[in-house]
């Protein structure tokens, strides 16, 4: 159980919005940052700022040590055996683009196929569309049911000798569904197909063990895990990363350069061209320390209780329909209100200090599946409590009164 006041660790939460205490429920978009993370950035720029991997001077060595130390922390956080399997990127979007370009694109021939699912974020659709368009390959979509659960029994029959890659989210950002990712990976591997798992909505809510999942690639964004924007992680199995070509060329990703020939650096540096987001990486390490101190099991339990309570209370309101009723969900409560557009819900709730997201959540195909333009989405994080849920529910009721 979480038995201390988490909210007071987050300065942004301590303010009034439109005269009301802020209730921040847009955590699937981005989480707020604890003092520890903000101070890590501050300290880095005040005391350590220097470029990494190249200076013989003390500051550069300190910066390098802290940056690489985060790599070790991320490897432990994901349960990877080898920190060389951890590549720093800007976020999950860049991680997917990296894999699409450096791993999948060279494999693709005309009429080949890539499989994704019906409930992907645009970031796990568009990179595949781009390379499929270029190589005249096809994108196939694993369907879902009305509850927002993938029909994984269909996956086996969708796979054929043309299937070159599979990419799927671990947790859906618009529905909250926790997908049976181990099972999906097992089916992929049984058919000798490699798979990327988009964990952007997973790592902050449930314990993730890449060894148990056995995905070939796994990625997440730091800013949804209480770390700054502009830093994220791609995990890849070492033997696969070794065989891949670089994604971008530049400094730090090389061993030697002449005009005739360049020898690339080893992984992970091979994929980290240019000066990276050093302060962001260091602060990501601090964010991981912060949540591990609370404990992933505790976080999962706390957020699960909140989500259940919120779902129960919201469902009691006549005229509200929850979108996404999977048996196994994390953090996300999407809903629509009879005769009221989600944007109007969002605006009225904002005037009461309740921050939710209204829109298609970068998942237009999910909206099309349910034949709705958008949903209102509340998403929970470690600092939310039952009081926040009560305010959510009362402001939903108020919205209904306005449009009643």
């Amino acid at each position: 159980m979480i038995d201390r006041d988490i909210k007071s660790d987050f300065p942004t939460l301590n303010q009034k919005i439109n005269g009301n205490e802020l209730v921040y429920l847009d955590n699937a978009a981005t989480t707020q940052k604890p003092y520890a993370v903000i101070e890590a950035i501050d300290t880095y720029y005040k005391k350590t700022n220097s470029n990494i991997h190249r200076g013989v001077h003390t500051l550069s060595q300190r910066a390098t040590e802290k940056y690489e130390n985060t790599r070790t922390k991320v490897a432990a956080f994901l349960n990877s055996d080898d920190e060389k399997e951890i590549i720093f990127v800007r976020g999950a979007t860049e991680a997917i683009n990296l894999v699409a370009n450096s791993y999948v694109r060279p494999l693709l021939n005309p009429d080949d196929e890539i499989i994704i699912s019906q409930m992907e974020h645009h970031a796990n659709i568009v990179p595949w569309q781009i390379i499929c368009g270029e190589k005249k390959a096809k994108l196939k979509i694993l369907p879902m049911n009305q509850d927002g659960e993938l029909l994984i029994d269909n996956l086996e029959s969708m796979i054929n000798e043309k299937t070159k890659f599979i990419s799927m989210n671990h947790v859906s950002n618009s529905l909250g569904t926790v997908n049976p990712i181990e099972k999906i990976v097992e089916i992929a591997h049984k058919n000798k197909i490699r798979i990327l798992v988009d964990g952007a909505q997973a790592v902050q809510h449930i314990p993730v063990n890449v060894n148990e999942i056995d995905a070939d690639f796994y990625c997440f964004s730091g800013h949804k895990l209480y770390a700054p924007t502009g830093i994220g992680v791609l995990y890849g199995k070492k033997e696969i990363l070794d065989e891949m070509s670089p994604y971008q060329g530049g400094g730090d990703m090389i061993k030697s350069v002449t005009f005739e020939k360049t020898v690339y650096n080893d992984v992970p540096q091979k994929f980290e061209a240019g000066t990276p987001n050093i302060s962001g990486a260091i602060a990501l390490g601090t964010a991981i320390d912060y949540i591990l101190d609370i404990g992933m099991e505790n976080i999962a339990k706390h957020e699960d209780e909140l989500l259940r309570y919120a779902t129960e209370e919201i469902s009691k309101i006549e005229g509200i329909k929850v979108i996404g009723n999977a048996k196994h969900k994390a953090s996300v409560l999407s809903f629509v209100m009879e005769n009221v557009h989600p944007h109007d819900i969002g605006t009225i709730m904002d005037t009461q200090g309740v921050a939710i997201r209204a829109g298609n959540h970068c998942t237009q195909p999910v909206m099309d599946f349910y034949s709705i333009p958008a949903t209102a989405r509340a998403s929970f994080a470690i600092y939310n409590d039952k009081n926040d849920v009560d305010k959510l529910v009362s402001s939903v009721k108020k919205t209904m009164e306005v449009f009643g």
């Binding site: 439109n18 005269g19 005769n339 009221v340 557009h341 989600p342 944007h343 109007d344 605006t347 009225i348 005037t351 009461q352 209204a358 829109g359 298609n360 237009q364 909206m367 333009p373 958008a374 306005v402 449009f403």
Partner: protein
């Protein structure tokens, strides 16, 4: 007094609930669609233009209360007006909802003044206007992006 009262005036709520001229025209001369990709709102405007003058107008589509009410009130405001009058009206309306204009000469459209405090909702209020201008200019589609 609630915080949102300046935005969701009774008249706006009424036009949202009971939109006027929400229908299709059989013999329209001009038609354009407006789409706001951010929120998925779709508004289609059909016109009958008699020379430079608009003799009839109807709209279809779905959207939030602000975009629906704006389309509904637009149909009432522009009937009988000519192209240059409408251009002038849209200019004034746009200034009003973005906070740089005043409500003189806007008649009923002045009720959208509250939108200027909600920058995220300006596109909702102007979606039908963009579709209208596209239709007048003979284009098929308008986007607020």
């Amino acid at each position: 007094m609630n915080d949102w009262d300046e935005l969701y005036l009774e008249v706006i709520l009424d036009h949202n609930k009971n939109p006027r001229n929400k229908d299709e025209l059989d013999n329209f001369t001009h038609e354009a669609k407006g789409h706001n990709p951010l929120c998925g709102d779709h508004i289609s405007i059909q016109l009958i233009m008699d020379g430079e003058e608009i003799s009839d107008v109807k709209f279809t589509g779905s959207g939030c209360a602000i975009s629906t009410a704006s389309a509904s009130i637009l149909t009432e405001a522009i009937k009988g007006k000519n192209k240059s009058e409408i251009e002038q009206l849209f200019g004034n309306f746009h200034d009003l909802v973005t906070g740089s204009g005043n409500k003189e000469d806007l008649g009923k459209l002045a009720i959208f003044e509250g939108v200027n405090k909600y920058p995220a909702r300006v596109k909702c209020a102007t979606l039908s206007w963009h579709a209208l201008m596209a239709a007048i200019e003979g284009k098929k589609e308008a986007s607020t992006e």
